[in-house]
Every structure is written in C-alpha cells, then in structure tokens.
C-alpha cells in the first residue's frame, strides 16, 4: 500500500521522527502532494500489540538507549539512565501521551515582555503570537478531535475527577472540568469513543485517543506520497558545498548504513535526540554542529515544572478506572506574581497502576511509611502538576565526552538544575494540591517528585534573531535554509500547558510553509 522512494531520489522531504511533530508534518506534506520519507528509529507496533501492562509496555515502546544525566534534579539520582519517559516507535510519544490538548495563553508567547528579567533565566519572546497561531490551533483541534472545541462534548468524569471537582469547588476554584482532550467522547474520524479503559500511557486499546500512528500516518500513506521506514536510526545529516543539507545517513534494522538523498530535511526526534543529531552532524563548515552558529543547539532544555499530589481517603476511589487525565483545574495557570513566582501551572488528574505507583510515588523510599501508602492503593486519588519552567542556558543536552552508542556516536547527557522559580511554583502546587484533597477529607497526602521527563522542550529554540536561537518563526534553521526542526525542541519558552497541541499546530503551519517554499523553488 505504501509508496517506496529510492535512496537516490533527491526530490523527497526527509522527516526524522514520527511523533506529534514528525508524524503530523509528514502526513500533511503527503496530503499536499509532497513526496515524503519518514525515518523512524523505533519499530511499528499497531493497536493489537498494546497491552494494559505498565512494565510490559514500558519495555516494549520506551526510548531506552543509553543516556546519562547530571544536575540537581532528583531524576538524576533516582533514574540516572532514564532522563526522559518517551517512546521509540512509529507514532512516537503520541502512543504514550495522555491526550491533554490546551492552547497557550496570550502572554505565554511573550514572557520576556511580561515577566521581565528573571535572574538565571534565559527568557525570550516567541517570534509568533497567539493571534497568528489561533487558526492553526483550531485546525489542529478539529483534526485531533479535541473535546470542548468544535462542538465536541467533554468526556464524562471518572472517580478521580469527581474527587478533584469536589475539592476544586470547596476551594473556590472556578475552572474545573474534564479537560480538552484529544480522546473521542463520541465516534469521530473513523475511530470509536472512549471506553474508560484506563492505561492511557500504555497505548490506547480502543484508538479513541489521537495518535499519529493510526490517526495521521495511514492517511498520508494512502496518498502514495508518504513512506514510513521504521527501525531506521538516523546517524548524521550531510550537507553540500553550498551549506545546504543534501542527504541523511541512517542505520536500518540490521545495522546496515544507508544514505537517503533529500531536498529538505525536517528533524523531529524530540528535544534530546534532535539537538544530539545536529551536534553529531558537525563538519568543517559547521564545526560546532549543524545549524549551531548561535551556540544555542542543545541549550535552554526545559521539562516543565512538574510534580504530583496523591492522597488517600477512608473510602474507595478506584482512580485507575477510566481516562487517566480527563480532569483539570486551570485557575493556577495564570501569571500572578503575588504567589511568589512568575508563570503558572495546571492541575490535571493522574493515576498510575500499582506497579508504577510503587516505582514513582517516592522513588527509593521504603519501610512502613511508604508501604502503608500503597496498602491504600484503591483509596487513592491523584493529580499531576504541570507548569512553566524557566529556560536556563546551562540546562542542556550535550554530547558525552567518552560514552558512545552502538554506532560509535556520542550519547547524550541531559543536565538539569531547577530554577528557584520552578521550586517556588512546585511548592505552591504541592500546597494547593494537598488542599484540594484535604478539603474532601484526605487521610494522608503525598507530594510526589517529578517523573522522568515526558515534556522535553526548548533545545533548538525559535527566535526572531539568528544569534538568540536555532530556528526562525517557521521552524526553519537560521543557518541552513532547507533544514527544519519540527518538534517541541523549537519551543522558545514552555508555557504551562501540555505541549502536544502546540507541536501539532506548529507542524501543520510548517507543512504549509514548506510546501509553499518548495513550489516557489525557494528550497
């Protein structure tokens, strides 16, 4: 069914990665008639391969290639080889994501203007604003079937949501509902509605949740303009003597190296692999890494301010039943410095099964204080805190000085220190989250530390001026005009919202731009 393009076809757009950014971009380009090859490092699993099994799916779909960590974040201590909890498979982390699809707020595109100079933070305004993004947000919401947009009803609230809602009402919060979720609340786009299975992080068994794996890529393939090559790990992007990218070197499933020629290359490997690939593609013309004249490739790594609050109650909750993240309080996402920090955070329902709860409630903890909490597993409610963290130039993805992967390429090190603003915001979130549950009669509450990063952002940031970042307002690199970045690494700042909707919206907008520039022969 799927078209095959030749390795020597130099008319194709090569997209590296098939997640929210790459999967959407590649599909949209194909729909516009552009010949596109997606190179995906992971395997292709389909919905029948998913299982409601936390560790089983973790082993099957996670990006587990060797990485190192440094910095004062607790992940570096508890999960030193696993800085990020993301997916290596066709569909990328849209297999694993929870479905929360929120637009940025107006001020969040212009935080340098609104927050001013924050010591230690490398703040910058985005070169785009909410008004410019609104039509793209709307298009993405329609395409993904986001609830509470385009006349799509919200999902019904599960037990975990009902606890959150009661607490929100008790505290006087005004904005609590079952979220804007890219999960069908009624059949749409050839997919059924949510069956309240739970296990959203393990791949949606009913395909009610939008994923590029089954919601986008097959549509692109059906045009005859898209080829997806799984098990294809890109090692290097090559350029010609004029400094334009010309081909991509990758290793196939057997480790054989192949060279795919390209007219345009779009990097969408998530915020750790994308800068790593650019840094590993250095040459005599680009000695500090491809598209890195600013020195900003790999810098300003953001992971969102996160944390969780779990609580136990006298009576059963069964939070594991139903949609994992269909519940939100948005009242704290405002920018209001009277709370002691800039920016804001969302509070979203979250549950883990017993296997993951034991590993993540308080990593490394043991003894009766800890085990007695797990004894109350089915009496637990939980929420995730996700807020804007400060970009810091010293938080970065760098090439490890000595450790190499199986192809002889330097592995990435992920360095992260919390900014004082991140810590102040997290403490506020812990306090408010506990207050929500205390108001409903919680017996104990648990301020749970951040998990390995699911939101990896900012390492190829978008900037108006070439010296401040890596890509321009289209995601086109400042240094190489036929090289684009198409994932969350282009985020100038992180905002308080889950990033996927913005990644998809930017990818749709970028597809439009690339197709237009190609037809004008500008690239």
């Amino acid at each position: 069914m799927s078209k095959k393009f030749g390795l020597n076809d130099d008319g194709v757009v090569v997209v590296i990665g098939s997640g929210a950014g790459g999967g959407t971009l590649g599909t949209e380009l194909a729909l516009k008639g552009v010949k596109t090859v997606i190179l995906e490092a992971g395997s292709r699993h389909e919905v029948p391969d998913f299982k409601n099994d936390e560790w089983g799916m973790f082993g099957k779909i996670s990006w587990l290639d060797k990485r190192t960590t440094s910095g004062d974040w607790r992940v570096a201590r508890d999960f030193s080889g696993l800085p990020a909890w993301i997916v290596k498979a066709v569909g990328g982390s849209t297999i694993h994501w929870a479905g929360a699809s929120l637009r940025f707020q107006k001020h969040e595109f212009k935080v340098k203007t609104h927050y001013g100079n924050i010591p230690g933070a490398n703040l910058l305004d985005w070169p785009i604003d909410l008004k410019e993004m609104e039509p793209w947000y709307s298009k993405a919401e329609d395409r993904m079937g986001v609830t509470r947009t385009h006349g799509i009803p919200g999902l019904p609230g599960n037990n975990n949501f009902k606890i959150m809602k009661k607490g929100a009402d008790n505290l006087g919060y005004k904005h609590c509902h079952t979220g804007r979720m890219a999960i069908n609340s009624k059949p749409r786009d050839g997919r059924g509605s949510c069956l309240q299975i739970g296990f959203c992080f393990q791949g949606c068994k009913s395909a009610a949740k939008w994923s590029t794996l089954y919601s986008e890529i097959p549509k692109g393939e059906a045009t005859g303009n898209l080829e997806v090559r799984p098990n294809s790990q890109v090692l290097r992007i090559n350029h010609d003597k004029y400094g334009k990218v010309s081909s991509v070197l990758y290793a196939d499933k057997s480790g054989n190296k192949k060279l795919q020629k390209a007219r345009v290359v779009c990097v969408a490997g998530n915020s750790i692999e994308s800068p790593r690939l650019l840094l590993n593609s250095s040459s005599s013309k680009f000695p500090d890494g491809l598209a890195n004249s600013s020195g900003q490739v790999g810098k300003n790594y953001m992971r969102h301010m996160t944390g969780s609050v779990y609580a136990t109650f006298d009576k059963p909750v069964n939070m594991h039943r139903g949609t994992t993240m269909a519940g939100i309080i948005t009242d704290e996402s405002r920018h209001d410095t009277s709370r002691g920090f800039v920016g804001g955070y969302e509070m979203e329902t979250l549950s883990l099964g017993l296997p993951f709860m034991s590993a993540f409630l308080d990593p490394g903890a043991w003894g009766r204080e800890f085990s007695s909490a797990l004894d109350m597993y089915n009496h637990m409610a939980g929420m995730w805190l996700v807020g804007e963290d400060m970009p810091q130039e010293s938080n970065n993805i760098s090439l490890h000085p000595t450790e190499k992967d199986q192809y002889g390429l330097a592995i990435p090190n992920v360095h992260f220190d919390d900014h004082p603003n991140d810590i102040a915001m997290r403490n506020h979130g812990y306090k408010q989250g506990a207050a929500v549950y205390d108001s409903v009669g919680a017996v104990r509450t648990f301020p749970t530390p951040p998990y390995p990063s699911t939101h990896n952002l900012g390492t190829n940031r978008m900037s108006a001026k070439a010296r401040d970042g890596v890509v321009n307002k289209w995601g086109q690199t400042h240094d190489v005009k036929n090289l684009f970045v198409s994932d969350g690494s282009v985020f100038t700042t992180g905002a308080s919202e889950n990033p996927t909707l913005t990644i998809v919206s930017l990818a749709l907008r970028q597809a439009d731009r690339i197709a237009s520039e190609m037809s004008k022969k500008n690239i």
């Binding site: 299982k51 409601n52 099994d53 560790w55 607790r74 019904p156 609230g157 599960n158 037990n159 009902k162 606890i163 009661k166 949510c194 069956l195 309240q196 299975i197 739970g198 296990f199 068994k205 009913s206 944390g307 009576k315 059963p316 909750v317 069964n318 594991h320 039943r321 139903g322 017993l354 296997p355 709860m357 034991s358 590993a359 308080d362 490394g364 903890a365 043991w366 003894g367 009766r368 204080e369 800890f370 085990s371 007695s372 797990l374 004894d375 597993y377 089915n378 919390d418 810590i423 403490n427 812990y430 506990a434 409903v440 017996v443 104990r444 509450t445 648990f446 301020p447 749970t448 530390p449």
Partner: protein
Amino acid sequence: MENKENQNKVSRRNLIKAGSKTLIVMSVLPTGIIVGKEKAWAAKAKSLKNDTFATLIQVSRDIYPHDKLDDKYYANVVAGFDAAAGKSKADKDLFENGLVGLQQASIGKYNKKYRDVGWETQRVQLLRDIEKTAFFQKIRGTLITGIYNNQEVWPLFGFEGESSPMGGYLNRGFDDISWL
C-alpha cells in the same frame, strides 16, 4: 527538597504503625527446606546458604511490609535471588557478603541474629545503616517489581489489572464513587 517536604507532610499525619512486630514464623528443616507458618509455603535454597535465604525473606518483608501479604510472595522474590546467585558469582558474593555484614551489625547492636530481633523498628534501624549499599539496593530494587508487578497480589491492593478485555470501565464503575 521534595524528599524533605515529603517527610514533613507524612509525619504531620502520623498514622504509621512504626512499632509493628512482623517477625516471620519460619523454620529451616534439617533437609534445608525452609517452611513457613503452618507449612503454608516452603522453599529450598540451591545456591545461597539456608540462613541467608531465610534472613533475606525477613529483610524483604521489612523493606516493604504489607501485613496483608503472605510470606510466600517475599519468599518468591528471594528464590529469584537464589537463582541469580546460581548463575553469577558476583551476585552470590553480593548476597552472602551482605548478609555477613548485616548479621555482624545485628549481633553488635542487639546481641542477636537478624531473624531473632523481635521488633520491626529495630531491624529497620539495621537496614537504614546499609541502605546505600549495593546489597540493599539490589534487594529493594528487585522487590519493586517482584512484589508490586506480581499479578497475584494486585487484588489484595484493589488494583484490577487490565481492563480492555472486559470492555474497559465504561459500564463497570468508572464513575461509581458514592461517598462524596
């Protein structure tokens, strides 16, 4: 930071039965078979010493004590350590040497071997002293999956496991909370 906050938060709501006595009733028979209370379970050390095997069961329960869990679930995890020791001298040394150190500390502190120290808090103190060692972390890390990813224990915690074969919870109580 988070860790400290966590401790403060939990101690404020002190519901912890810190003094619980959960010494496992088990005996090592002359044949080397380790038998649990009322012969509810039995295990036999193949590579580790009998006393090491039996003591590791107690250590495992002390690390993640669940009064509702039968001893056999902890013994099963220790059987995995025994199997690992059979395949790897490094693993065998890790467990045997670790145990020697633990017993020495126990005798030094309480004049008793670990399995004869009657109070959980006293045994836990011995474990706190070694919690950064590879020996302790190997046991603790393995227990996380050995206990909590064992499907047999899930019903005892109220975790219902996979739901998609039953059609999810849409008609099976996803919103059945009744006490709010």
